[in-house]
Symmetry: C2
Subunit: 208 residues, 2 copies
């Protein structure tokens, strides 16, 4: 094998393990998957997990970072586009809830990793900070254009992320408090629309 | 001892254990406290924990429910008061962030209990449902008075609770992504004000 073939095979084993973990967690609706199940699904030796990620926690953290980094990149691409600022905000908020919906394990992974001091520092640097920077730039553009009111960017970031998170966090609560058995695409879409209406225009009736 | 003296002593041992757990978790900034530490702080035998709460998890769930039920009761009291609806919303949202701030362990307890199927069903029935009912009634009053736009009450509930939660959830992220070492009363107040501005009036500039 040439050097580049070796690199490709390496990348593909790494990617196979990540995809296998994602598939299993989606199918089982749980992040409780064993290393050997992941290796078996990827048709690879479980020792490779150690090689690429250190251990299972490392694999799950990497998976979470890859899913969320893709979102951050997408947002930066969106920011550079020639679109009205409110459309950018609508597309972005929709992308956040779509990510939670498409990767049903991501919310749980975020919560678990937030409870681990090492993981939190990595997530803060690789995800939260770039995401919050993009939010700040979005808000600044909107203010410069006279479309948005000045808002503290850190607080806007926390309010937006918390509101998106809450639909998916504790889905058992939805079941027992609101008789919602499952979050389907319609609920996700309605939630996103309601959140955007509130974020952009508030709940108070204006006489205009 | 008379029957009522026995009842009083029982109630006070139970309350002492809950208070001791709350004190220790606040002092240590962690919910990792041992049964024997709790018992020692309460100057009671640790067997009483089993007697009153089943086990430590039961004690922590009860503590969480008592803190949050007090908030639900307060909200119901507020709803019955003769005050403008927007003042009620302001007072209520301030009370939520004040509860998180006053009980620094409550956010962590909520997240841990949300991951436990038994605890979630209890929390959904005793806390989430009454709180969401109160939010619905607040929104309905506002709509009836022509002050608020119609908003889906479940979604409003999730958006509000998620936004309040996010400041306190993952405080390590605040440190590493925003250089905020600690949530102090000033930050709590500013966050609450920003959240209320957004919830009530949105971030879009209106020309009125």
């Amino acid at each position: 094998m040439t050097q580049s073939e070796i690199r490709e095979e390496k990348e593909s084993s790494r990617a196979h393990l990540l995809r296998a973990a994602a598939e299993l967690m989606t199918e089982r609706r749980s992040i409780e998957v064993s290393l050997s199940d992941i290796a078996q699904r990827a048709q690879l030796n479980s020792a490779l997990v150690k090689y690429y990620f250190g251990n299972k926690d490392g694999l799950l953290l990497t998976l979470m970072q890859e899913v969320l980094s893709a979102g951050v990149e997408q947002l930066n691409g969106l920011l550079a586009m020639d679109l009205p600022i409110l459309d950018k905000i609508r597309i972005h908020v929709n992308a956040i809830t779509a990510t939670y919906f498409r990767y049903p394990f991501i919310n749980r992974l975020i919560h678990v990793n937030m409870a681990k001091p090492d993981a939190v520092t990595k997530v803060a640097k690789s995800i939260t900070r770039p995401l919050a920077d993009a939010h700040r730039s979005l808000l600044e553009d909107g203010v410069a254009q006279g479309v948005l009111k000045p808002v503290d960017p850190m607080m806007f970031h926390l309010i937006l992320m918390g509101a998106c998170d809450q639909l998916f966090f504790g889905q058992n609560v939805l079941r027992h408090a609101f008789d919602v058995e499952e979050i389907d695409e319609e609920l996700r879409r309605n939630y996103t629309r309601t959140l955007l209406d509130i974020l952009l225009h508030g709940i108070v009736v204006t006489n205009d």
